[in-house]
């Protein structure tokens, strides 16, 4: 089994949103909707400030409230790498998954189904990185198999201080932010 995930170097990320626009064009997203976004967290008072910039998206969790709550089985875990996907034909747009996601990663597509990051599974299955990873001008994003101890992502997570978003939600997210 493989467990696909990301290690994102927040020291390098400049929050330029290239990942956001690359996702828009790669996946032909409707105007006004995004599957990934930038969060900027600032603490302290001027001029003694610290700032972390993060590119965020679906965490492709190992424990998935969005899949458990889906009444039709549209939200599911894909065989390849444990990627969390939505079957548009099965989805009835009930928004249960939207409400269950602690990361606010899902939205209802204008065509009526729940939509979110797919890790660009159409690219990944062809041996390519997701569009956001391969476009990043700061090379801050790394993608790979977290279950393979020799993968770049596993090595980065093992060797660097990192954190996940909302660990208390217990979803076992697979995106790690390197500090």
């Amino acid at each position: 089994m493989s467990r696909l995930g990301m290690a994102i170097d927040t020291r390098k990320c400049v929050g330029c949103m290239d990942c956001v626009v690359a996702c828009k064009t790669e996946n032909n997203l409707p105007e006004g909707f995004d599957r990934d976004w930038i969060t900027t967290e600032v603490s302290g008072s001027f001029p003694n400030l610290t700032m972390q910039i993060r590119t965020e998206r679906c965490n492709h969790c190992s424990d998935t409230p969005c899949v458990s709550c889906c009444p039709t089985g549209a939200s599911h875990i894909h065989d390849f790498g444990g990627v969390v996907l939505v079957d548009h034909d099965l989805c009835i747009g009930c928004k249960a998954c939207v409400a269950s996601c602690p990361y606010d990663a899902r939205y209802i597509h204008p065509d009526g189904y729940a939509d979110k990051c797919t890790f660009c599974i159409h690219r990944v299955e062809n041996g390519e990185d997701p569009a956001c990873v391969s476009v990043c001008p700061t090379y801050c994003m790394h993608f790979g198999d977290l279950d393979d101890p020799n993968s770049e992502v596993s090595k980065l997570v093992a060797s660097r201080k990192s954190s996940v978003q909302h660990p208390a939600a217990g979803t076992k997210p697979n995106i790690f932010y390197l500090e």
Binding site: V14, G15, A22, N28, E31, D34, T39, T40, C140
Partner: protein, 733 residues
């Protein structure tokens, strides 16, 4: 304090109505794609076409993807030394320019008064005949020099050729007197060469990087940001000087929250520490330096304690950062910046930056400044241009003795005063002068003096609204441009070529320039009929294959040394042939031979200094109607320090107007309450608050910084306009 960039996302998911609106908004896109399919008859499947980006001037190599004949996406060309296969967000969103609903669709001639935005659609023949007739009248009455061209980017090359053939030397770009001019002049006075574009900075190999107001990461010059990331990866020491806590500041070991306008005091103090402690590169300075003794005497009183009073920066921090720079020499890069027209004395500040680099021995060294390599492609063998008796109009009597390029605002002044001779025609290519130049009413006054005003652009920019004739250009995705021969670390050429047809009656600029020349009776200046003939001739003369360039998008030459340590001969094209620590030519012209600190204007009571900068997703005021980019950042916000906002009772999202000391008021703009800025200034991203009625999607979104820039002081060395010298207060929206 957390900000999330997906405002529309959140807004739309919250309300069913918003989602419905988004569906109808995307309909014209699909229609446009169908139209192109029908027109081009492109086949099924994925097609990849290499080209060169034009969303900014960096000219990254790109690969456009068509899916079933429709424009799908654009990526970096992995062969390109500038993009390394990765475009910046603007480049990635570049396809939005093709789909822009507001873009120009046919030539237009003005119906009523200038600026009223009332138009009649005409044919290309009618539009060009009208222009040629007016240009011939101006030539007969005032001489050919009385037509000027304002042009930005490589796309303007053929219009420049036509104008020179017509007999005018008056070609200017705001990139000099409103942008990088002071920097290039300051470096040229010191090292004998400008920094150039792309900057000759070796950020990736630096061990210490100093950014003074330069906000890499927000300012998205692709290769620089990529190198900046490698610098961070290599754990280099970053020192950031900025009144605003920029993205780069968030990554710095030292953040120096300087009082605006006092950078030169800080740089002088750094040099004072490095010289007085004997920490400079003695061998380098001795070998290549001129006038070091006089220089070190003149800066001997500029101690960190003196600079503290001016800058507000703790003297111990000034010392520590100077020592840090010296410790890492010669791999310490004090970045020269790019947009450097700030306070009207910027060439001397830039010269101070050049001198600090000279002390550290970084010019010509790895981790400092490289000597760019470029391919030698001969120019097309055109007939000689006519040489009129009158020189350029912009700088009479060499009022600005060190101006090395044409001064836009000098042409504007001559257009208003008629001195040293009248300017009666403006051709404006791809530069929105309404936002690019300060003192907007001066620009409009100049335009009202013209007999002919022509704008060539892709979108109906604000300046297009003031034209007599508007010529719609193909977007960069639909046209060829001149060969891009970029001086950089590796020599290469890149080609911009059409990847899809335009949905309107638009034309490439080379065609426009050539047809205009023919109408002016100057057809012999265009011995070629199609631009591909022109490419073949130029490339063939240098032994390169056009067919190969067309296929690959990039052709590379042999790599050559770019650093002194790799064998570059240290040559300095200054009068002394050395690095001029003390400048006799500045002294002879009546200026300080070594930079001196001039106190900036103080804030009038109740006013804050207006500073501005870039968003990573927009270029100037050119990209705001691109739906992919406006989806990321639709309108700017005014950054106000938390303590100031509290005093006025503002919270983030409140709408206010900014008013300058002359009573000019901005459009309503949202407040961004933040700790990330000094309490004595406010910040805007440049390019918003646009008022072109034809550019519906951007109309009056956010506030224009440039509208508020009035009576900017002018750099006495080179004519640059000091654009950070205005003060604003808050008024109700």
């Amino acid at each position: 304090m957390i900000t999330v960039s997906r405002r529309r996302f959140l807004k739309i998911t919250g309300f069913g109505l918003g989602a419905a609106a988004a569906v109808s908004a995307s309909e014209p896109l699909a229609k446009s794609a169908e139209y192109i399919n029908a027109k081009t008859g492109k086949g099924k499947g994925i097609e990849k076409i290499p080209t060169t980006c034009d969303i900014c001037f960096w000219k990254c190599g790109a690969i456009a993807y068509l899916k079933d004949g429709e424009l799908w996406k654009i990526e970096g060309n992995p062969e390109d030394p500038l993009s390394n296969g990765r475009l910046c967000p603007r480049g990635t969103g570049g396809i939005g320019a093709h789909f822009d609903k507001d873009r120009l669709k046919s030539p237009l001639i003005r119906k009523n008064e200038r600026g009223e935005d009332q138009w009649v659609a005409v044919t290309w023949d009618e539009a060009l005949s009208y222009i040629a007739e007016k240009m011939n009248k101006i030539k007969a009455k005032y001489g050919p020099e009385s037509v000027a061209l304002f042009s930005h980017g490589i796309g303007g090359n053929f219009l420049k050729h036509t104008l020179k053939a017509y007999g005018s030397p008056n070609v200017a770009a705001p990139s000099f007197a409103q942008c990088r001019g002071p920097r290039d002049v300051g470096f040229e006075l010191t090292f004998g060469e400008p920094v150039g574009s792309p900057e000759r900075t070796d950020i990736e190999n630096a061990d210490c990087l100093v950014l003074i107001g330069s906000h890499l990461g927000e300012n998205m010059h692709n290769t620089q940001v990529q190198e900046f990331s490698r610098f961070i990866e290599n754990k280099g020491t970053l020192i950031v000087v900025d009144p605003r806590f920029s993205v780069a500041a968030g990554k710095a070991k030292y953040y120096l929250p300087i009082k605006p306008g006092t950078d030169t005091a800080l740089i002088l103090a750094w040099m004072n520490v490095i010289v007085s402690m004997g920490l400079y590169d003695k061998e380098y300075v001795e070998k290549y330096g001129f006038g070091f003794e006089q220089f070190s005497q003149l800066i001997s009183l500029n101690t960190p304690e003196w600079a503290y009073i001016q800058t507000g920066i703790d003297p111990e921090i000034i010392r520590a950062t100077a020592i840090e720079m010296a410790k890492n020499k010669p791999r310490t890069l004090v970045h020269p910046g790019r947009h450097t027209t700030w306070y009207g004395n910027d060439a001397q500040r830039s010269r101070a930056i050049a001198l600090l680099n000279a002390l550290l021995g970084s010019w010509g060294r790895k981790g400092g400044f490289f000597f760019p390599a470029s391919l030698d492609i001969p120019n097309y063998p055109y007939p000689e241009y006519p040489h009129g008796e009158r020189g350029k109009v912009d700088n009479p009597g060499k009022k600005y003795p060190f101006a090395s390029e044409t001064i836009t605002t000098g042409i504007r002044e001559a257009t208003i005063t008629g001195e040293p001779y009248p300017i009666k025609g403006w051709l404006v290519y791809a530069t929105n002068l309404i936002q690019a130049l300060p003192d907007r009413e001066e620009t409009i006054k100049a335009i009202q003096n013209l007999d002919l005003m022509v704008v060539v652009d892709v979108v109906p920019s604000e300046i297009a609204g003031w034209a007599d004739v508007v010529l719609p250009e193909d977007t960069y995705l639909e046209r060829f441009d001149d060969l891009s021969i970029t001086p950089f670390k590796k020599p290469f050429i890149s080609l911009r070529q059409p990847v899809i047809s335009s949905p309107g009656d638009t034309k490439p600029n080379w065609w426009i320039a050539r047809e205009l020349a023919i109408k002016l009776g100057l057809g012999h200046y265009y011995p070629w009929t199609n631009i591909e003939e022109y490419f073949k001739k130029r490339l063939g003369a240098a032994g390169y294959s056009y067919d190969e360039l067309k296929k690959k998008g990039i052709l590379k030459g042999e790599e050559t040394p770019i650093f002194f340590e790799d064998g570059i001969e240290p040559v300095f094209y200054t009068p002394s042939g050395k690095i001029e620590f003390y400048s006799p030519q500045l002294q002879a012209a009546g200026f300080s031979p070594v930079p001196e600190f001039e106190k900036p204007k103080e804030n009038p009571p109740g006013y804050l200094r207006l500073i501005y900068g870039r968003s990573p997703v927009h270029t100037f005021s050119r990209t705001q109607s691109n739906h992919l980019l406006s989806d990321l950042y639709e309108e700017n916000e005014v950054w106000v320090n938390t303590s100031v906002a509290m005093k006025y009772g503002y919270k983030s999202g409140d709408k206010i107007r900014l008013a300058n000391t002359y009573g000019v008021k901005s459009e309503p703009v949202k407040v961004k309450v933040t700790e990330r800025i000094r309490p004595d200034c406010v910040f805007l991203v440049h390019g918003f608050g646009q008022t072109s009625k034809m550019l519906k999607s951007t109309y009056k979104k956010g506030a224009s910084d440039s509208l508020l820039l009035k009576n900017c002081s002018t750099d006495p060395l080179m004519g640059g306009t000091g654009l950070n010298n205005n003060f604003v207060t808050f008024e109700e929206a």
